[in-house]
Symmetry: C2
Subunit: 286 residues, 2 copies
């Protein structure tokens, strides 16, 4: 397919490269032009604006930082919605609020475009290896037409429901993983401070009902004292904030999440924003 | 070996049966005598008191409800410490405070006995199948001498450190699993209330960084609407309380656990005490 691709961060650059390698004709755009170099070397064209990246394409994909960035690359004068031809797919793979996803779906529909919100999980490794889980909100036919693209980037591709539901799923899952990390760190801290050897904790806990993806990650990071992202504290904080706001707007009580958000915000403010999310354990051991 | 076995609850009766089947000569004691019937049918002798169960044995094992019950079956006039012969192993497999484990180790040593605290994880299924994880505190030689017993009851048998350290490990691991369940329930609640289908949550979340043992359990219990224990709310609450107290006594701050304990106590007080721990999700969904 002819594809415009907007946003070449850690995730985007790997996903765009997989599309090029799979034979799609890809035109990339990134706010800072340096990032486009490796993609151009692979054979991608380079556009001067999101609007240009979208022009004449079958599909345009965006994966950017936050709601404001999605607004800028989709809705602005130089945004992709003005560039895309009627009937084109517009697929936002950023992790942002369900509200902006629904807004994008609406604006896209007004221009005769077909919008999907399609956030991903699986990290930079999954992006490189094309093994992401992709959670998709939007109509069935658009979902079906996007399969040739999704299947190159991900392994588990799930249509959740209507517009915004991909983001809702992503935020709910991220809320769970963020807090699972925090409670695992709390228990590891307790054991370590009471003198339990890290190796024994690492042998017992992942083989007990305490087992989780985040616990295993913490044990690995602690053993190597490696706090490079990975998944940064500032991105975790953004997702936690979005999940808590989403719940508040819907009038849903989250008993523990507000406290988790407060703790994680403190952690970010104390200089950890660019570190990996796992650095929360180091903070507790302080 | 000649073994006294005290406490035939869901866990104890299955563990004692495995010892009998493995060829150990087992004498059982239980506060209510009815529970001894099935073990007697298997070939176990039945004692009239913990003291009598311990008399002349190579080892005496206890697995009872709480600190008070451990005190009663070990330290009392009719307790096992008075019955056991010099050099015998005294192994408490209850989940109780590290403080009482250290007290038992001390009193046992004064009588020439060798004490191990050896709490288990793996639930009633692990107890029946002999696949428990056993966390052991106490000296190396006693640990080694107890292997013929542990190997019948468990698969992963780990010496954590000195007296009380088995209990410390157990409480730290249980703190993590209890809170992992609570945060997973919180995220599932959010998704379900926002209209995400349970099957889609069950497809995506366990394949994302939200994955945990407790999340999988919640999804299964919710799908079957099955809230029979399993692991009861009242036992969870006991373990949470012990972990928070252990941290307080050591002057260690747990940022989220006090809130978790408060929430779980409310859940128990609202009639859920005998239900499975997973009923916390049903509570959140109201």
């Amino acid at each position: 397919m002819e594809v415009g691709f907007i946003g070449l961060g850690v995730m985007g650059r790997a996903m765009a490269a997989n599309l090029v390698r799979a034979g799609h004709r890809v035109t990339v755009y990134n706010r800072t032009r340096e990032a486009t170099g490796p993609l151009a070397d692979l054979g991608a064209a380079v556009a001067q604006s999101p609007r240009q990246a979208a022009e004449g394409k079958d599909a345009v994909i965006s994966i950017v930082t936050d709601d404001a960035a999605v607004s800028a690359v989709l809705f602005g004068e130089e945004g992709a919605l003005l560039g895309a031809r009627a009937g084109a797919l517009v697929i936002d793979m950023s992790t942002v609020s369900p509200a902006i996803a629904r807004q994008a779906a609406q604006q896209a529909a007004q221009r005769g475009l077909r919008f999907l919100d399609a956030p991903v999980t699986g990290g930079d490794v999954g992006a490189r290896e094309g093994t992401l889980t992709i959670m998709v909100g939007g109509d069935e036919a658009a979902f079906s037409d996007a399969q040739p693209l999704f299947s190159v980037m991900g392994r588990r591709i799930v249509r959740v429901g209507g517009p915004g539901s991909g983001q809702t799923m992503k935020l709910a899952a991220n809320l769970v993983s963020a807090m699972t990390l925090m409670v695992a760190a709390e228990g590891l801290q307790l054991g370590l401070r009471l003198g339990l050897p890290a190796e024994i904790l690492g042998e017992v806990m992942p083989n007990s009902s305490a087992a989780s993806y985040e616990l295993a990650k913490l044990l690995d990071r602690h053993a190597r004292q490696d706090w490079e992202p990975g998944f940064s504290v500032q991105n975790r904080l953004k997702d936690l904030r979005l999940a808590v706001e989403m719940a508040e707007q819907a009038g849903i009580t989250l008993p523990m999440a507000p406290k988790a958000l407060e703790l994680y915000r403190q952690h970010a403010q104390e200089g950890a924003a660019p570190l990996d999310e796992a650095s929360y354990l180091r903070r507790l051991l302080g």
